[in-house]
Assembly symmetry: C2
Homo-oligomer: 370 residues x 2
């Protein structure tokens, strides 16, 4: 059976498919990482699985030299567990010494989703930034900004928007078409502003020449390629080539995409224990067999089981326990209902603590951004 | 004989051609102006000959209400007498009470002419702004800025670039094609930034709702149309429709375009008396006849005579004297050589005083922009 590469976790979980994906995008397998990366399950379990030019970031970590981790957020809908993949990387990189830049893509939301700036601001602060903080991001040490309002420092703002404008000289329509397919002026300006988001930390008005890492979902690589390509054509400034890492997606409950527009596709950070229980029991796609008898006989498939994937990505830190669950499920010893019960327990334990942390985070965010 | 409308003064000098041009562009004839406009030869002699929506500007003048006159400059080559058409309007509007906004189009020069920002800055200050000042513009009461560096006030800068980005949502590629023909990302961003140049004085961070007048050469009307059209689609801000006036061009010495890249096509503000004499005598296209005898018999044509046009546009303030010259030239009484001698004398008298004024202006500009 040959499958076209698609971007959900199980389709790229095998060694072969990984390689195929990596080859198709021209990115490299992520291997031989320093020991510290093994402390993070996202790296240890290859949820973050590929990279471009990560060497200079690893060197910066090793030599305790400054580097930037840059990311953006599209403020739409509720923050859910799928968003944790990026959030946990941010926190990890911050602890490793990265200066964190976070762009709230309110201009992009305005131009591509007709979402007004006030709405974007509200969602970004209440959902995203507050959750980042509750998950452990030190907001005070991060440069969090809105695309529509880069800085209170005029020199910085001018430099950021100037870069967007100057980059346009080095771009072609065909490049935008490759990224966006159907291209409009609004999408084009968003794309160039995004390129400035990724590159501007290197400007004299910001960190000066500095390596920048952009962790993204693998589907976002075209954006990276565009920014990388354009950056090397700029005549007036020598940009250090962008580094990037690529992560898998958390599957939606229904095994499709986790979509903010479909509450039954995700576990929100605000879900109650009862809601979590219902969602996992009712909607979480199962890798188990149709009948108990069949399951005992043939075993389940953890690779396509959403509950198991959630444990692997987020909620089971213990590798031995995870291996045991995987083995028992595959053998048919562990039933779907039992796997779901365990997952519900783990999620609810996590959410209980997280929802406590949110209370303080809400106050912090309100203080910082009002 | 039917002619396609072209944009140099004599091709649109007759009543019929004016109307044709006005019809083609959908602009209106400029008529019934208040008495004060007759003090300015550009209006009196219909060098500024058409408009869109000038009523609200005239009302502001009449009621002593605030209004903005906005213009841009493309910093290329030397400032020459042709540039005075716009400069003298700026000074006139400033005296009538307009707040003057001047955008140095350094981003546009970068994106469409590959001219670096430092070069643009140098040319803009040394040539354009200094000459504006020497001609009588009060720089202290003007908001002069570079597209690449809108303001030292972050709120203002953010608002200006934000507007550029948000406007893109309401634009279509076909509109840009109509303005630019061959459209590139660089041209598109320049065009949207130019729309922000024209519209941003109305934003809360600047003058708040206020009528804005943009005086342009008639060939620039497509830019105006684009900005006018887009502005009325914006959902988040109700823009007062832009007003504009349209002026003719000063012909080049060779009767073609006055081009910064051909020094023999223009009189520069720094030309010496000898240079002026040589240029007028050698290059100024003449409406006279081939021989003296023929000229005496048939008379000359002031409508296509470059020396006469310069007198009409700039150097002969006295209507009676101008009418006499026109009449005598048309009748053959005034010879081309005599007309040229008179023009040389008038230009040199003007330049002598102007070059004196430049010395103070240079110091003022240096003080303001260093």
């Amino acid at each position: 059976m040959t499958k076209k590469v698609v971007f959900n976790p199980w389709e790229v979980s095998g060694e072969v498919n990984y390689n195929k994906l990596i080859k198709e995008f021209g990115v490299s397998n992520l291997k031989e990482l320093p020991a510290v990366f093994n402390e993070n399950i996202l790296f240890r379990r290859k949820i973050v699985f590929a990279h471009r030019d990560i060497q200079r970031i690893l060197e910066a970590v090793k030599n305790k030299k400054p580097f930037v981790m840059m990311t953006g957020l599209m403020p739409s809908g509720k923050f859910h567990i799928g968003h944790m993949i990026l959030a946990k990387q941010m926190i990890f990189w911050q602890k490793l010494g990265a200066k964190i830049y976070i762009a709230v893509a309110d201009i992009e939301a305005y131009n591509t989703r007709a979402q007004n700036l006030e709405e974007s601001r509200k969602i970004a602060l209440k959902e995203y930034i507050t959750n980042y903080s509750a998950l452990g991001l030190n907001l005070k040490k991060a440069d969090i900004y809105f695309q529509s309002n880069r800085s209170d420092n005029a020199k910085k703002s001018n430099a950021y928007y100037k870069l967007q404008n100057l980059l346009s000289r080095y771009a072609t329509f065909n490049e935008f078409k490759a990224v966006y397919g159907d291209i409009t002026p609004g999408k084009m300006l968003s794309s160039l502003l995004q390129a400035s988001d990724m590159l501007h930390p290197q400007l004299p008005e910001f960190e000066k020449p500095i390596p920048v890492l952009v962790p993204v979902g693998i589907d976002q690589d075209p954006h990276l390629r565009l920014a990388r390509d354009i950056s090397q054509r700029v005549k007036d400034y020598k940009f250090i080539q962008l580094s990037s890492t690529y992560h898998l997606f958390a599957p939606g409950l229904n095994s499709g995409k986790m979509s903010s527009s479909d509450p039954n596709s995700y576990i929100a950070m605000t879900d109650s224990p009862k809601e979590v229980e219902t969602k996992i029991k009712k909607y979480a796609f199962s890798g188990g067999q149709a009948t108990l008898e069949e399951h005992r006989k043939k075993g389940g498939n953890p690779d396509i089981d959403v509950s198991f994937q959630y444990l692997k990505m987020f909620f089971e830190q213990d590798d031995k326990k995870l291996a045991k669950i995987e083995q028992d499920y595959r053998s048919g010893k562990l039933l779907t209902g039992e796997l779901k019960e365990y997952t519900i327990k783990k999620i609810n334990a996590f959410l209980k603590e997280h929802q406590e942390n949110m209370k303080k985070a809400e106050k912090d965010v309100e203080r910082m951004f009002s």
